[in-house]
């Protein structure tokens, strides 16, 4: 654990040095230096007009995540429990996972109109696929002996689900949630970068026109920090769950 912490610290220092080096190399105007970027993040957070955009993105992301988790778990568990449906649905889900979903965004926009619902829908579309794939595999690959044990112990369906199925399938399901979290964020952000008037994605695109390099880098940094911080926490939980089984 200690060496791992040291490795991460070394990695962060190397990245910061690399960034500073790029800044020196490209000349002062082009790439904002790390320290200035952090200062810009703080200044942005202190600007009242920044918060509506942040709130818009956060609420779009949270709604998309709620839909992706709800729908993804339901679909995944049902497909995992019913063998034939799962076998039919799996290639479709895998194909959906690897297509450029961005091409579907115009269709989503035509359905929902420009604004919050389209972003939420697009974020949810990204997140729902990995969550259902992982949940499906988790339920399908349950060791049959667990179910036999439940029968032997004469557990009711509720107790079987709560005491046996859930703990056994949880690690795999959680991995799906972790991947789904990241992809929902990507989807919501793309939704904001095209045809949107509010949110962090819109701010990023607007800053290109204004040639505000410091704003672009500050928002990008904010998103990267948020995504990697949450993902690291989820990774720790993920590893723990997998080790326990």
């Amino acid at each position: 654990m200690v060496t791992r912490g040291r490795d991460i610290a070394v990695l962060i220092v190397v990245i910061l040095l690399f960034w500073q080096g790029l800044h020196q190399f490209t000349g002062t105007g082009l790439l904002t230096a790390p320290l200035d970027t952090f200062a810009r993040v703080l200044r942005l957070l202190g600007t009242p007009s920044f918060w509506p955009h942040l709130n818009e993105s956060a609420s779009a992301f949270l709604r998309a995540l709620a839909i992706a988790v709800g729908v993804g778990l339901t679909v995944g568990i049902v497909l995992g429990a019913h063998r034939l449906s799962g076998e039919v649905a799996e290639p479709i889900l895998v194909a959906l996972y690897s297509i450029p979903k961005v091409t579907l965004y115009p269709v989503v926009l035509l359905f929902f109109g420009i604004g919050m619902p389209a972003k939420v829908a697009f974020g949810a579309i990204h997140g729902v696929v990995p969550i259902s794939i992982f949940a499906m595999n988790a339920v399908r690959n349950l060791n049959p002996i667990y179910l036999k044990t439940a029968q032997v112990l004469k557990l009711g369906p509720w107790a079987t689900a709560r005491k046996i199925l859930l703990p056994a399938a949880l690690p795999e399901i959680f991995t799906g949630l972790r991947v789904g979290f990241s992809l929902t964020l990507v989807g919501t952000l793309i939704g904001e970068m095209f045809g949107s008037q509010r949110g962090l994605g819109h701010l990023l695109m607007a800053a290109i026109g204004l040639y505000r390099m410091d704003t672009i880098m500050a928002i990008t940094l904010l998103l990267v920090l948020f995504a990697s911080a949450i993902n690291s926490i989820l990774l720790v939980v993920d590893h723990r769950l997998h080790r326990r089984v």
Binding site: L11, P91, A95, T103, P106, M193, I208, L223, A227
Partner: protein, 218 residues
């Protein structure tokens, strides 16, 4: 929404007229460059990291969080740095694909059974010969998984970037048709992208299955 049958006929018309050929070729060219670059760079970096475990352990946290980071957030940065052309799109496709290739290469080399390497030493094989005769064939199916992922990711990256902001390419044409409410062009193009990418992915997927199947039989 127009019916699928109409999308197919409209698509045939668009392809026959040749007015989208430039956009299609451009997208395929950028995807191709991003793909080849990510496969070569990913393989070389993967092999190097495998040989240098100390450095590998240090960059491992980066790989673990890499796909959690929305790479598209860097797209505006690349546009300002490199201008609105092929380069920022290429970089997004490359960045999305290369890490999948690195991770798969590492995974492939990790899975070489130690007994095979011992055999190579018993025969006093040179390092290059060991790599060519033992390590590469053994790791190949896993590396192929990386290639498969790199194909999917470079398509996703390139078309996504073109869609968000660019001046040409399939992603741009779809966004442009959407802005003009031109459903007769938009739906057929969306269909073309989805069908094309799905076919490519499925071919690679079944090829990968064959490779692993052959491995199991031995």
């Amino acid at each position: 929404m127009i019916p699928p049958s109409e999308m197919v006929t409209a698509l045939a018309g668009i392809l026959a007229s040749g007015r989208m050929s430039a956009a299609i070729l451009r997208t395929l060219r950028i995807v191709g460059i991003a793909l080849v670059a990510s496969i070569i760079v990913g393989f070389v970096l993967g092999a190097l990291l495998h040989a240098l475990p100390r450095i590998r352990r240090t960059v491992d946290p980066l790989f673990a969080t890499y796909y959690a980071i929305p790479i598209y957030a860097f797209y505006p940065l690349f546009i300002v740095l490199f201008g609105l052309g092929d380069v920022p799109i290429l970089i997004i496709g490359f960045l999305l694909a290369v890490v999948a290739m690195i991770i798969s290469t590492l995974n492939g080399f990790d899975r070489i059974p130690p007994v095979l390497l011992k055999t190579a030493r018993m025969y006093r094989m040179r390092r290059v010969r060991t790599a060519l005769r033992i390590m590469m064939p053994c790791a190949a199916p896993y590396i192929f998984t990386g290639v498969k992922l790199a194909v999917a990711y470079s398509f996703i990256g390139v078309i996504g970037a073109e869609f968000i902001m660019s001046g040409s390419g399939m992603g741009y044409e779809i966004a442009f048709a959407y802005s003009n409410f031109d459903n007769q062009i938009m739906y057929p193009l969306i269909m073309l992208v989805l069908v094309l990418v799905t076919i490519i992915n499925m071919v690679l997927h079944s090829w990968e299955k064959i490779l692993f199947e052959r491995r199991r039989r031995r």
